[in-house]
């Protein structure tokens, strides 16, 4: 216990280094980040989602079992409350992608508060960035296909209903906010929330150990610090669900924008 607490306390304050976990394959190698806990967690998330949905839908019952009910609720929630709500009747076609996205982000985020796992792959910018790129490419592709050509889509997306003499002012803004800010903000929002959440929990946990090892009389403060960790874990749960929801809703809203006709 003492050894552990000094080891942990030695790392206070937490830094970005704490997000780079030791290599698993090859075991314990230095500066090798090809297969770490993060990589493992992503594959676990993928496997869990696939297995969960396969098992729950293998023998669908008219009166659903608990598992089937959960799977159907997840899909139904995303289809009715995100896809159809944001995109309209055509949204049903995007429900499978949005559900996958929602489940994947939710599960990966959830790792950040599961005891003993307690780090989310999404706290590394690479994973949200790739998810954002997928959504980005998808909504542009959908837009091009819907408008029947790259230039027609660009015309619809970039040229607002405005007199011609303000257009030179507006088109750069439209381009910037539609095609540059969107993927960036999608990725950064998710990443920053998960990063900050992990950092916050680290500060309060390690801070408790740092205070104990600095002076035994600080123990009450350490205990308060650890209680704060637990409280913040619940706050994290809120952030986790909210961020998974926001990412999915925004993707749906971008698809809706790409499918929109002239207003």
């Amino acid at each position: 216990m003492i050894g552990q607490s000094t080891v942990l306390a030695a790392e206070f304050p937490p830094s970005v280094e704490d997000f780079y976990l030791p290599s698993i394959l090859p075991w314990g190698a230095h500066d090798s980040y090809w297969f770490t806990k993060i990589t493992l967690l992503v594959w676990v998330a993928v496997a869990l989602i696939i297995i969960f949905f396969l098992v729950s839908y293998r023998k669908p019952q008219l009166v659903p079992t608990k598992k089937q009910w959960l799977a159907e609720s997840l899909y139904g929630f995303v289809r009715n409350n995100i896809a159809v709500e944001m995109i309209g009747a055509r949204g049903v076609a995007f429900a499978p992608y949005l559900t996958t996205l929602f489940c994947f982000i939710l599960l990966n985020n959830l790792f950040s508060i599961v005891p003993l796992i307690q780090i989310s792959p999404n706290s590394h910018i690479a994973f949200p960035a790739i998810l954002a790129v997928i959504s980005y490419v998808m909504f542009i592709y959908v837009g091009i296909r819907h408008h029947g050509g790259f230039f027609k889509y660009m015309k619809a997306a970039l040229i607002p209903p405005a007199p011609w003499f303000i257009l030179p002012l507006l088109i750069p803004i439209e381009f910037f906010s539609n095609f540059m800010v969107r993927p960036f903000s999608l990725a950064v929002r998710l990443f920053a929330n998960m990063f900050a959440g992990h950092m916050l929990l680290l500060v309060f946990t390690l801070g408790g150990f740092a205070m104990v090892s600095a002076n035994v009389w600080f123990t009450p403060f350490s205990i308060v610090s650890w209680i704060m960790t637990i409280a913040l874990t619940f706050l994290e749960f809120l952030v986790i669900v909210l961020q998974a929801y926001v990412f999915t809703v925004l993707t749906a809203s971008y698809v809706q924008g790409a499918l929109a006709d002239e207003h």
Partner: protein
């Protein structure tokens, strides 16, 4: 819930409105985008002409104006 039909008229209900996260984000990105794009262009002009920020300032204000105009046109009634 899957068995349930998707709502046929998602926006026509008089119940609670969906949280329009998309619209809020669009508005924010227009404002920031306007400021950054035209402020940035102004900054480049400053750099080229040799002034100390007057064009960046003008650009940011013009960009904000453009952003507000876009929000009114795209998101307004």
């Amino acid at each position: 819930m899957t068995g349930q039909e998707p709502p046929s008229n998602p926006h026509g209900d008089d119940g609670q409105n969906p949280p329009d996260t998309g619209q809020g984000m669009t508005a924010v990105s227009y404002l920031l985008g306007g400021m950054l794009v035209w402020g940035g262009i102004g900054w480049l002009v400053d750099h080229y002409v040799g002034t100390k920020g007057i064009f960046a300032g003008i650009g940011a204000v013009v960009g904000i104006a453009g952003g507000v105009y876009l929000i009114v046109r795209r998101l307004g009634a």
